[in-house]
Symmetry: C2
Subunit: 327 residues, 2 copies
DNA sequence: ATTTACTATGTACGCGCGTTCATTATCCTA
DNA sequence: TAGGATAATGAACGCGCGTACATAGTAAAT
């Protein structure tokens, strides 16, 4: 009746609705879900990293808002699930107990444990979507941004300014994001007519500000020769910026620095940080759509797997090689 | 049987459990909830402020983690609900449809509309808890941090350094947080033997970085006389810091600056920002406990309404009045 | 051996809705 | 006006579990 089953005269409908109002009737969601055999909730799994936010809160907030916005629009609830890092991964469990009709997984790494857990999900063809991580050799349902291109844009920006080489502070290789950025880094050299990149200029942090700060020990000695740095996220870039300042190197003056993410931090630092903007909110929306589509009896719509990113120039890289007084 | 009803022999239990495993039996959460007549979810209502994050993402992330952690521990799910600012407030609706067994409300203001919505909830004695906001003249279930004390600590810190007056950039008065901070500001003068505070030194932003930046127009002219500033949150403090730098005033050198929140930003600015740390994660945990207690048949435990905060000294205020060369 | 207490197991019902099928009312066409 | 089509209404069932109650089994007490 309420679900538009069968033809129905307008007046009839009006009468029922009026009666419902006077009787203060409210359909019981639990009973509805029970009768329909689905929870009407999508689980969003976020890593529960107490205090240590490897991936920034900005990142999650934007994604969550996007997901929540789209789910709400389509009549689904958003069940937030914190995955403790030590607990064994078992996403299937969520479905067996019918707690969710689908799930969106954030903050994954490409590790054997995760791959195994995803394979189970996939084999049972349960509705899921992994955001911001891809898996080499597997065809999981994923949604990512084009980090190869983002990295390419960032490094090209530096090369076009005249820098011959670029120091690169990347993240751990378990994140496909890191691998993609390295690929973009390499491509940038080819596309800008450079002889080649130099892998000795590639360092690894863990996406935390601290790791950026610590990388100063390895990177500072190189700054006498190479005046351009690309960091795989804003937080490492800022750690680096802080550490290098202590050594007397100032971003935007003594060297050019580019970060990645366009987090809030990028606007608040001095100098402000050139960076690459990732459409996190939109990713959230699309991830929600993608999962819902995989629920049986839902109509399909083509959703891309890779979203575009855009480079944003700020102060930290507003310097050209020829402006640098020789040291 | 599974719910420990009646006495049960160990072996019997073992047998059933074994059978359940071989048959791959999983209790159906939906049916359980239905039979029990409760959803087993707590709704967390967050304001949906598209792009414009008046209240920082840091704030929500920490709170959410705390809430989720405690709810998970106690066997409840966390249903994330985005409240669009224009939609009429109706928290009761959530309960009528049985979508949640209780709710935690974040990011509220003290406006007539909100008060009305809360009064309905309260009259029906539904389980809810408002976090980080209190309401003058009402006795709602709230959980807040002691911002009077935080403000008192921050301003006292400045007064003890020898500054006679302190410029105060506060937030909107609809937030009880703002009113509390003003109270603490006033108390600080009394407790530190000053003649009095001066309300002409109190300005109002809206907790955004931009509003801090814009406040420079009013505040910069005063800096020739008064060298100490307290901002009601870190973001405004940073906006202020950026704006004042453009005028040639450097925090920690030309004037002392203290923020509030201890967000990530406070550590990444130059100079780093003295601030007041709020135990957001713990607030989340306690809010969760508080709501669950209000669900019938749940045992009570005394939970405070006001949590302590702590002042953190960083570089931006590491300067004393007598160190300032007269201008 | 019989009672009494306790433990163990089985049975039946209902939660509130969706859904399907049977029934009745209304309309249009011949 | 009769006949078929379509619209509206009503009745019945089941989703999977919790719960209360009735029954059967077992051990301790008399």
């Amino acid at each position: 009746m309420f679900n538009n089953i069968g033809p129905l005269r307008k007046e009839t409908k009006q009468k029922v609705l009026a009666a419902a109002k006077t009787l203060n009737y409210h359909p019981n969601t639990i009973a509805q879900n029970f009768a329909r055999g689905k929870s009407n909730n999508i689980g969003v799994i976020v890593p529960y990293l107490q205090k240590v936010n490897l991936i920034s809160t900005f990142y999650f907030s934007e994604l969550l808002s996007g997901i929540g916005s789209k789910l709400g629009e389509l009549g689904y609830g958003l069940l937030l699930l914190f995955q403790s890092p030590d607990a064994p991964k078992d996403y299937v469990q969520l479905f067996l107990s019918q707690r969710v009709d689908g799930c969106i997984i954030l903050g994954l790494k490409d590790t054997p444990g995760e791959v195994e857990a995803l394979e189970k999900l996939h084999q049972l063809s349960l509705p899921y979507c992994v955001v911001n991580q891809t898996f080499s050799g597997h065809f999981f349902h994923t949604l990512d941004a084009n980090h190869v291109d983002g990295s390419l844009q960032a490094v090209s920006h530096l090369l076009k300014k005249g820098f011959e080489q670029v120091i690169f502070l990347n993240g751990p290789a378990e994140f496909s994001n890191s691998r993609d950025r390295l690929k973009g880094y390499k491509e940038a050299f080819a596309k800008n007519g450079r002889v080649s990149y130099n892998l000795e200029l590639v360092f690894q942090g863990n996406y935390s500000r601290k790791s950026g700060y610590q990388a100063v020990a390895s990177i500072a000695p190189l700054l006498s020769d190479i005046k351009a740095i690309f960091a795989a996220n804003d937080r490492m870039a800022i750690g680096l910026m802080q550490g290098l300042r202590e050594q007397g190197y100032h971003a935007g003056e003594d060297y050019a620095l580019v970060g990645y993410d366009d987090s809030e931090l990028a606007k608040t630092t001095t100098p402000s940080l050139s960076t690459v903007k990732v459409p996190l909110f939109e990713m959230g929306e699309l991830a929600a759509e993608k999962v819902l589509q995989k629920i049986p009896q839902t109509k399909a719509k083509e959703i891309p797997e890779l979203l575009p990113v855009t480079f944003i120039e700020r102060e930290s890289s507003q310097i050209k090689l020829d402006q640098l007084s020789g040291i």
